[in-house]
Amino acid sequence: MSDITGNGKFLVGIYDDDDVVLKAVKEVKNAGVRIHEVYTPFPIHGLDIALGHPRSRLGIAAFMFGLSGTITALLLTAYTESFDWPMIVGGKDSYSPIIYVPVIFELTVLFSALGMVGTFLVSNNLGPTVKPLMYDLRTTDNKFAMAIDLDKNNLVENDIEQILRNSGAAEVNVKQF
């Protein structure tokens, strides 16, 4: 994660429950605290909206990659079957697009799936050599962590800690990267 600026000092509120953390996001935001990110062991519906993350555009990527697969298959079949080495098989025209539908479909799905997964990995900075910044190791088990970047907030540390506790945080820890 490259978006760490300043001295990388974070307050990390640890929550025990997914419903509590979802409510807490709204409360903490209303109290005027800027939330860096929330880390959870499983997806919580509505959390990204509560945090104000923009809607994912992966669908557009999937469509574009799928389209490129369709075009590749159309060009491949047209070039090989009717241009480079025209052949009549089964009495059909050398170019008969209907009969290429299976190949066109499969390449559309293949390009779309691989392209979208590649986009997902790149946009989330995921890769075999990536060292994740873990605000709390238990967030992949049973805890929910809300990270507050102290450099990006004007409130003092103690006030933020109080706001986190009031919102239902079971623990508030300091994490320095």
């Binding site: 640890i14 025990d16 429950d17 997914d18 419903d19 990110e37 929330v38 880390y39 062991p41 499983f42 997806p43 919580i44 519906h45 959390l47 990204d48 945090l51 993350h53 994912s56 669908g59 999937a62 799928g66 491949l76 079949t77 090989t80 079957e81 080495w85 052949m87 089964g90 009969i99 290429y100 299976p102 190949v103 479909f105 499969e106 390449l107 799905v109 293949l110 799936a113 691989l114 979208m116 997964v117 997902f120 990995l121 989330n124 900075n125 995921l126 994740p132 910044l133 873990m134 709390d136 190791l137 238990r138 967030t139 992949t140 088990d141 049973n142 805890k143 079971a170 623990e171 820890n173």
Partner: protein, 476 residues
């Protein structure tokens, strides 16, 4: 967030599990030493694999003449085994894709293993394609390569070429879908790992997953679109496999009903195989609270549905053979049921049409022993289905002087045994080194679908591990 579920719904997770319990119960077998049962099973699989590999190499070295094929029956066990394994490979993606679109929550406990099964089954199927080529070093001729590399361009009008595209796309997309689903769980194992080696390996494979809200939102979006893409894909694969037969002019193969009938049959046998594997896994890994009788029953319902579709298809084929008035077609079907291969046809009808109907009884549907037995029977029946379609349609050629029978040789049998060694070796490696149940997805449904909600689902579990002792200062 509203976690509202009707009180009449039966729970999908029993035993009042907390989030930490889920992690603990499912990670345990990944982290511990292999159990004795696992070691024994793995040793047997590897021995079978070594024997099978030797036989496959002998098949290639000596040529396909070691099989029992003859001039009339030019396709027999090789393609039977191929279609059988591809069929089995349909359940995983059906569970993870179609059931995701239908919002079936019970899918969460079984999708990981079912998808692993899919991937390994497709690999087994592909091995028969390589085997029946006879010259596997020229397998790349099936790819669209220009003349200087292969012979001509591949014939894009041939269903066999469609198959190359369908199977390889299906394998790739299933693998990617499965691996993306594994990322959060691999990160869980990474963060729990005590040894440096496993932290490094699981760390590399988890690709630096940190579970941020943004990643999760995109992940859910990704899963949804992949499911949307995989749904027509899974239907297309067996459709195209069926076209290998349906676009030919052989009586008994030239049947327009093949695509839906093959897809239903594939799901039918795939679920039977999932049942067999899950019933063993739940006992060996003590996962009875996650893979409950409810899950077994849901899958049995799908087996009954698809088994009935297959039964209707068999009868329709027969009716159309008579109704069409085509004497070749009529003969092919009468010969199938009453000719020299009547026993294969009878086995197919009993195993596939009669046996799944027993599941109309709730007691049988919810019985482990019955489920396991019927699932084995269904898979035997589905193997016979492909054998019947392939061999009985071929063995009576147009000229009576060309009529022949197929007799399997030791190598037909051994090459089939190879695929079992291959499959179970891979599956046992998966079961030991990867979490067999999707922890993140089970945690996500636990509030709505747990048997009895613990005081706090997120509370401290028995023997909960404390990641960092300094955090422990104010645990509630």
């Amino acid at each position: 967030m509203s976690h509202v579920t009707s009180a009449v719904r039966t729970p999908l997770v029993t035993g009042g599990k907390t989030y930490a319990d889920v992690t603990e119960d499912i990670s345990r077998q990944v982290e511990g030493r292999p159990t004795r049962e696992w070691t024994i099973a793995f040793t047997i699989s590897v021995v079978v694999l070594i024997y099978g590999t030797a036989c496959v190499f002998w098949t290639w070295w000596e040529g396909l003449g070691v099989w029992g094929l003859n001039k009339t029956v030019g396709w027999a066990w090789d393609i039977t085994n191929f279609v059988w394994w591809v069929g089995i490979g349909h359940a995983g993606t059906l569970i993870s894709a179609i059931l995701l679109l239908f919002r079936q929550k019970w899918r969460t406990a079984v999708n990981r293993s079912a998808e692993a099964m899919t991937i390994f089954a497709v690999l087994c199927a592909a091995s028969f394609i390589l085997m029946h080529m006879g010259r596997p070093w020229l397998a790349y001729w099936a790819l669209p390569l220009p003349n200087t590399l292969g012979s001509l361009w591949v014939n894009f009008k041939s269903p066999l070429v469609w198959d190359v595209f369908a199977i390889s796309t299906y394998f790739t997309v299933s693998l990617v879908f499965w691996y993306m689903g594994l990322l959060p769980d691999l990160a869980t194992i990474r963060d729990r790992a005590r040894s440096k080696v496993s932290r490094y390996i699981y760390g590399a494979f988890s690709l630096g997953w940190n579970g941020s809200a943004k990643t999760w939102a995109r992940y859910e979006y990704l899963s949804l679109i992949l499911a949307g893409l995989s749904t027509p894909l899974v239907l297309s694969v067996h459709t195209i496999v069926s076209m290998d037969f349906a676009t030919s002019v052989i009586p008994g193969w030239h049947t327009t009903i093949f695509p839906p009938y093959f897809v239903a049959g594939a799901i039918f046998s795939g679920f039977a195989m999932v049942q067999n594997l899950m019933l063993i896994i739940r006992v060996v890994f003590k996962l009875e609270d996650y893979i409950t009788i409810e899950h077994v029953e849901s899958m049995n319902k799908i087996i009954t549905l698809t088994g009935s579709i297959v039964g209707v298809a068999y009868l329709t084929e027969f009716f159309i053979a008579w109704y069409s008035g085509v004497e070749f077609e009529s003969y092919a079907f009468i010969n199938r049921a009453t000719g020299p291969y009547w026993w294969a046809y009878a086995a197919m009808m009993t195993c596939n049409v009669v046996s799944p109907q027993l599941f109309w009884s709730r007691a049988i549907r919810r019985s482990i022993v019955w489920t396991f037995t019927i699932s084995v029977v269904v898979n035997i029946g589905m193997w016979f289905e492909r054998f019947v379609i392939i061999v009985t349609s071929l063995h009576r050629d147009y000229l009576p002087s060309s009529w022949a029978m197929f007799h399997p040789t030791l190598f037909d049998i051994s090459d089939y045994i190879f695929s079992f060694g291959f499959f179970f070796t891979l599956f046992l490696l998966f079961a030991k080194f990867l979490p067999v149940v999707n922890m993140a997805e089970v945690k996500a449904i636990i509030k709505s679908s747990s048997e009895k909600l613990p005081v706090s689902v997120s509370g401290v579990a028995k023997g909960e591990r404390v990641a960092n002792p300094t955090f422990n200062k104010d645990v509630d």
